[in-house]
């Protein structure tokens, strides 16, 4: 066991596995802070993962693949916002509908565009990045350097999001809208606009997370490859008390469990037990172990302005 814990691979895998959870968790934080429960992040990730491969393959550039994934992901998010915010549809049912659609839609596109053999093997990947100086530090260097560019982007986004949400005027307004939209409106704030912004940001972050799965970790797409990460991200967000740093911490914890189960492939200990860990943690997070987290007061409640 000690051997495994001292293996830098375990820790860089933790980072790698935490990234596709931290990104949508961050997105969910924005969406729910503005008062919209966005379960559709799971579907958005999946769709983005597919289009990342498609655009990367068509253009020959992984960067353009990422960009395409973001555009498509945000379009889906805005459609979701239109139904949830403008038409005040039930957010959970709507999110489920999008997820089921995404699963079928991407499977269909995969078969019609790429056929039986799956996505082409020459699809370009997003680069890994070596950090000078740090890369030469033993142990630490192997963990912190040489990761996918998205991992570093994620870390920057965590800090930026924290600043945005808690230290800017716009962040204050987003939080106000998610707590008491009526009060925000009487203070002269446009509730609908800010909820669109919250959902759009969740689309953006989920899309980056989705693209990371298909052209960051790999260079291929397979059906249902998001495999519930959009949901686990929501648990991470709750575990992290709807804060960027908290979400990141929870994502790291879940990522560690996944990485550990991968390292234990060959050991005597059952890997299946470890694989259960993230899900057990999720349940514990949801029932409030580790301090009851208090959700934004108007989370998931549609708002209709007065006339």
């Amino acid at each position: 066991m000690k051997e495994i814990l001292l293996n830098p691979q375990l820790w860089s895998a933790t980072l790698a596995m935490a990234t596709p959870l931290a990104l949508p968790a961050l997105g969910g934080t924005f969406s729910e802070r503005s008062g919209v429960v966005n379960i559709a992040m799971e579907g958005i990730m999946l769709i983005a993962a597919f289009f990342a491969v498609l655009f990367a393959h068509l253009t020959g550039s992984a960067w353009l693949g990422l960009l395409g994934a973001i555009v498509v992901g945000m379009i889906v998010a805005v459609i979701f916002a239109w139904a949830a915010v403008t038409l005040t549809a039930d957010q959970v049912i709507l999110g489920m509908a999008i997820n089921i659609f995404a699963s079928g839609f991407t499977a269909y596109l995969l078969n019609t565009i790429f056929g039986f053999s799956g996505t082409p093997t020459d699809t370009p990947m997003l680069p890994n990045i070596n950090i000078p100086v740090i890369k030469n530090i033993p142990f630490i260097g192997q963990i912190l350097s040489g990761n996918s560019v998205i991992v570093y982007l994620m870390i920057i986004l965590i800090f930026a999001s924290n600043y945005f949400l808690f230290h800017t005027n716009l962040g204050l307004r987003i939080r106000a809208v998610g707590e008491n939209p009526e009060a925000a409106e009487t203070a002269g704030i446009n509730v609908i606009k800010l909820r669109y912004l919250g959902v759009a940001l969740s689309g953006l972050f989920s899309a980056i997370g989705g693209a990371y799965l298909s052209i960051g970790l790999l260079n291929s797409f397979s059906t249902d490859m998001s495999s519930g990460r959009g949901y686990i991200a929501l648990a991470a967000m709750i575990f992290g008390k709807w804060t960027p740093f908290g979400s990141f911490g929870a994502a790291l914890l879940f990522g560690f469990a996944t990485a550990l189960s991968m390292q234990l492939q060959n050991s005597a200990m059952s890997k299946n037990i470890i694989m259960m860990l993230p899900y057990i943690l999720t349940v514990l997070a949801l029932v409030g172990v580790g301090g009851k987290s208090v959700s934004p007061a108007a989370d998931g409640v549609p708002y209709t302005p007065k006339k």
């Binding site: 204050l172 106000a176 707590e179 009060a183 925000a184 009487t186 203070a187 002269g188 704030i189 007061a297």
Partner: protein
Amino acid sequence: MSALLEVNNITKMFPKVRANDGVNLVVEEGEIHAILGENGAGKSTLMNIIYGLYRPDSGELKFNGEVLNLSGPHEAIEKGIGMVHQHFMLIPVLTVAENIVLGAEPGGISYNKKKANELIREISRNYHLEIDPDAKVKDLSVGLQQRVEILKAFYRHAKLLILDEPTAMLTPQETEELFGIMRNLKNQGISIIFISHKLDEVKEISDKVTVMRRGKTVGTLNTKETNEQELANLMVGREVVLRLEKSEYNPGDVVLSVKDLTVSDEQNIEKVKNVSFDIRSGEIFGLAGIDGNGQTELIEALMGLRPIKSGVIKYNNNNIEKLPTRERYKLGISYIPQDRQQEGLIMKFSVADNLILKEYKNSQYSKNGVIQYKRVFENASKKVEEFDIRPTDYNLLAGNLSGGNQQKIILAREVGSNPKLLIAVQPTRGMDVGAIEYIHKRLLQLRDEGSAILLVSLELEEIMSLSDRIGVIHNGVIMDILDGKSATREKIGLLMAGSQIEAKKVEV
């Protein structure tokens, strides 16, 4: 003086209701202008129009001589109109400063906490409204929360301040404090529109009174040249009896008996300590006390909404402290809760459905588990007429009725079922004088028919005019139980403040 606000011929229709019907109003600079009117007369609607939350169907608003065409509150705010709503518009988890500057934060992209706090301290000083900008709003008392609302208006340089029933939630002490603030503002040239159902408050604080009835303004009077009786009559459109006729006190058997009851709150702090009292049939027992002295915990324990720590609750000689709430209802206990929006009503249900919330299971209203709507509607139209709930359409959602009419639904349900024991917490909060007159009559009638009534109210006036005996609670302890006839304001006041010894002296 010149007119600051002119309202000309404003009309506003809601589905099926003409809430404002040709309303006219002039508010001068630096005056406190009271608006009086029955529940549902259209006061809140008019204020929401002035504040830009509702758009009028026709008519004109003028502010400072300029015609206003408001498309939302942000424009009203910009012109210098501020409003404190009947239900507060605050965000509990944010700080005082964040609540105040929200929507008009100082500085650029980043939230400038130092600047915000500085600005708020300055306004606090100028208007004598002391407050800690870093406190969380959820930790403040109702009176201080209201102060935050008022500061919100002045942060945006309000010249006109609208206060929609600001005293309904306040203790008498807090009301006095608010009046001090209002006088101060007036001296600084601010105009205030003040809505209240309490005639004595209107008499005390306002310069002018405009009376509304059924969506229309029926007249504006100089406060000095009128009296409470005239105002009441004008409001209701008929002679109102402000003094109550009470028949002889004729108590029967003990209905509710509480012995050595101790109850704790969520933090496990004892809020009710060893309380004992009896209530007999044919008796109104008033519980007087300053808000937050254990009344809530005591009532919730009596209703089975909160576990008790020790003690006995007997109803008709049977122990009920272990019975769930529903069983207590079945025994003939009725309950008018303090918070009508959270506990008393389901805002998204119709008036008719709200009227049978407790009895829907009875054979009267359901057959084999299917609700018999014919009976439900019969009951609704009877109660709506009896309790004068307006509008009379019982298919409206409870949430679309005016504040006072929402309260009437609860009363119709709880008083109308002829309970053997009625626990009434602030039963007439937010009601107009006509409605209060009717409710008081019904409570006395219930008593004369042999019911036992526990009346909890923050208003001494109400307690003293109705109660046969008065218990005064302070810090979870019943200080004394007084005879309703001989109790004086001063004595109750002293007991409420916790000074038993001095109260005893007054007695001598």
